[in-house]
Symmetry: C2
Subunit: 540 residues, 2 copies
């Protein structure tokens, strides 16, 4: 499988010879993910502008080649930089890394695909902006644009990013370029500000899709809260997690809490964020997951879920009123309840050492992570990506890269109603399956809004241990298909799960197929990515 | 222009003979709008179910007929029940008026096209629900579903309705039926709860569109606030409206105020909500618009804009904190500032008579409308629709119907940034044009979110006065094209403006055209409605 020399020459003429990578060892870097893959990539092309992207698309059409755009390729757990299908040229857009526009008054940032979360955060910090960009738990060098397009999310206000971006610039599979919403009007004042344009809304077609290459996007920014408080609580059993969830949903319905600011972790996820796998303590061999819970700090023994809630307030009086309502709602219903405000955080830091002795928890580190440099306040963090090395032996490198270091990771992302009973059901289902495969069952839940939760189920393993990799893969597939069948539908897929989940309605699949065939008649763009083609044959 | 007897027989067989209207005088009712129209309708068909809609669509395809679905036909000012193009059979969906599902815990209501705002409000009141449906200023018997699909809005939380609905059931132009989002998964728990499904989001294609007939939709409901306050203020000049808008945007960025809860009226719109045209005082003949301002209650003389802001709070402490911030932000910057809370409203009602003497305003009526039965709290109102009769002579009938009574109305809906300078610019532009045409310039502005405002520009006239109707039509066209050219892009169109505004990007038009041709190859569904076909020829 190789490119014709003619096509290669055209790509080289379009982006410059040094930006067409064909060297096998360099290309093979792109073939690595956080799990085993077989896809081969003939070459990697790095365009530097929207015009170059358009030329690449036209070349692909002329030569009937398939291309697969990536932004920063940090889609760890879901495929990294690897195409869904074999034989696609990767279009790496990381050179398009400009912040195109920034409007402090109107709170909008316009970026290209290569702009990272860290870059955007630094940009705002340098300008002493009153705004911030809700960030992810994932790597700071991930692409902001790609996160939005995959319907990823950030923690805190405007975290459901796909809802807060406008004015997509899209290169269509035929090489034409369009702008969505009011950006399709050449002189509109509101192109970056209005959520919808005029007529049918087509921007949705370019999220989780292979119908266009988005080369620019405007992202809305949140205003820094004047007062921030972090609530932590623990639930020791199903009754507690159910009661807490009911109260938190009501507080959100009333407007005390906001979207994407409630995060609930099961105890295994909490454990893996605290410590690395205790190889020494378990004698160097993998232990049954349940036994590992003995390594929790003593204060957290017996806990089954740990919750984190951000409270964002415009004044001290609002903060106080909200704290009182949250405390009253949760008190007596959960096992621990800690509300950290600015004063308490400062005191806690002063008293970090004695507190650590008392609780076994590194209080200073926890306060930095939870409060001062909290992901809840838009600070990108390497914390969660570091924990991907959970099952690896040896030290975690400072520049985490699980693709390179062969730490294993699968992600599963279903939706569920904002109800404790469903949290319990998903957690128990994942626990049963993962433990049966000898893996730690890690579940996180996140309030997308007052109506539903997104769950992130994380399967960590060591790619260098073949039986673990096989078990993880089976475990992943079983969790996806089991939850999907139960009614916990997937809302994001990886290259390893594209064939496992799809709408069950054939008429719906038919629409997706006809949209693909209309917009991409030569099928050149990311075939198999969210197009459900494994179900096209079922059509009438 | 008439239907073949074969097609007619098939429609009759599908929906029942009594639900196919061909009688000219009955059909001609559907040909009336709030302005003159020429479109002829061969017949009106009233299906009772989604299956009957599907059959009608299939009949239309077989006979190459065009059909034009309406829900309640209350699209006053934008075309009422009249199709964009001549010769379309109207598919009147008002018989499909069932509330299909209601979930108090999850705050979701599922409705058919014929369900009205009043019906939904009564339904919730009967159940003593803690939830309410954000309502419109328009007629209480308008369709909730159609309001959402046209990207209409309600006042208060969740008012930008197109953002808060899920699980569309859509009959496609080929007669197939699909369900959007997670409703396309047969057993999903989150079909009515999750904003997005899996893969490309196609629901946007069915808003402001002619790509499908939506026969069911789930609408999210807001929780009743524990404390509601209404802020009223007046601005006497450009400096005041600019300062107030800046402060209000900042308060919204901070989370003190919410989306779709700030409404700003220019003085002409305020006047027409207070009184009917003062025919007697002006000697029975139309007076220059400026002179009418003499008829404002004395307390409001010299005012140029009047603002209304709802504050929704979860506790008394929050309410107090928010009131303090609003007062501090606006005090000294605007000419009047009144904040009505529950206590003040009760006192005001007790003191209604003396207050009326003092201010010239009917305080009891104002408090009922503004507070106790406020549209801000989801109470449908006939107030604004009554004011459509502004230019009519004689009493306003209790059952307003401007189509029937030939009161004239045009609506214009552009978007603008959330900035005072733009409010001033739109207002001045509309004033100059409308006054030149001898009409009162009425502008309303409404915060869709912290990023942009929607403006409603209202042109009222008497259809029975031919020169007024002609002037109104010219005035409408000039306002649409002038604002559009200035950068105040239209975000909603009427049948009279479909040919006046469109995205300026030809590649974008090409996409809309190819979507239409793919999904509706026989062009049977609402031709000309938001498909920008007047610009199809410009394509390559």
């Amino acid at each position: 499988m190789s490119l014709s020399s003619l096509a290669l020459a055209e790509f080289q003429a379009s982006v410059g010879a040094s930006y067409v990578i064909t060297d096998r060892s360099a290309v093979s870097e792109y073939e690595r993910a956080t799990f085993a893959t077989n896809q081969k990539i003939p070459s990697v092309i790095l365009p530097a502008s929207r015009q170059e992207v358009q030329e690449c698309v036209r070349i692909a059409n002329r030569h009937k080649l398939t291309i697969y755009p990536i932004s920063r390729g940090r889609n760890w757990g879901l495929g990294s930089r690897v195409p869904v299908h074999d034989g696609c040229c990767v279009l790496d857009l990381k050179r398009m890394n400009q912040i195109i526009a920034f409007d402090e008054d109107n709170a909008v940032l316009t970026v290209e695909p290569g702009v990272t979360f860290q870059q955007a955060a630094d940009f705002l910090a340098e300008r002493k902006s009153q705004l911030y960009l809700t960030t992810i738990g994932g790597p700071p060098d991930a692409s902001l644009l790609a996160n939005a397009l995959e319907r990823g999310d950030g923690v805190g206000p405007l975290g459901d990013r796909a809802k807060y971006c406008t004015g997509l610039e899209v290169v269509l599979p035929n090489g034409e370029c369009i702008h969505t919403g009011l950006e399709a009007f050449e002189n509109s004042f509101s192109g970056k500000l209005a959520q919808f344009g005029l007529g049918p809304a087509i921007e949705g077609l370019f999220f989780q899709s292979n119908l266009g290459i988005v080369t620019q996007i405007s992202i809305w920014l949140a205003r820094k809260p004047r007062h921030f408080q972090l609530v932590m609580f623990a639930a020791r059993n199903e009754a507690e997690v159910t009661a807490a969830t009911k109260e938190l949903r009501e507080l959100q319905q009333l407007g005390v809490l906001c979207d994407t600011a409630y995060s609930l972790w099961n105890v295994y996820r909490f454990l893996t964020a605290q410590i690395r796998y205790p190889w020494d303590a378990v004698g160097g061999k993998v232990a049954p997951p349940r036994e590992l819970l003995n390594h929790l700090p003593s204060a957290w023994k017996g806990v089954e879920w740990v919750g984190f809630v951000g409270i964002y307030s415009p004044s001290r009086a609002h903060a106080k009123a909200s704290r009182r309502m949250v405390r009253r709602a949760l008190r007596g219903k959960v096992s621990k309840l800690i509300i950290i405000d600015a004063l308490m955080a400062k005191l806690g830091k002063l008293l970090a050492r004695p507190l650590q002795k008392l609780t076994g928890v590194d209080v200073r580190k926890m306060l930095d992570n939870a409060y001062f440099h909290s992901v809840f306040l838009g600070h990108p963090t390497k914390l969660e990506t570091g924990s991907i090395y959970w099952r690896k032996r040896g030290a975690t490198p400072p520049d985490c890269n699980p693709d390179r270091d062969r730490s294993g990771l699968h992600w599963v992302c279903p939706a569920l109603p904002f109800e404790g009973a469903h949290i319990v059901c998903v957690t128990r289902t994942v626990e049963e399956i993962a433990i049966r495969h000898g893996l730690e069952p890690m579940c996180m839940f996140f309030n997308m809004n007052q109506w539903y939760l997104k769950s992130f189920i994380v399967i960590m393993f060591d790619q260098e241990v073949p039986e673990e990799a096989t078990a993880a893969s089976k475990c992943h597939d079983e969790i996806v298909t089991t939850l999907d069948r139960m009614g916990y539908s997937m809302i994001r897929l990886g290259i390893q799960s594209m064939h496992l989940a799809a709408p069950s309605e054939q008429t719906y699949i038919n629409v997706i197929r006809s949209l693909k065939q209309t917009l991409d008649p030569n099928d050149i763009l990311s075939p198999g990515r969210y197009d459900f083609r494994h179900k096209w044959n079922g059509s009438a």
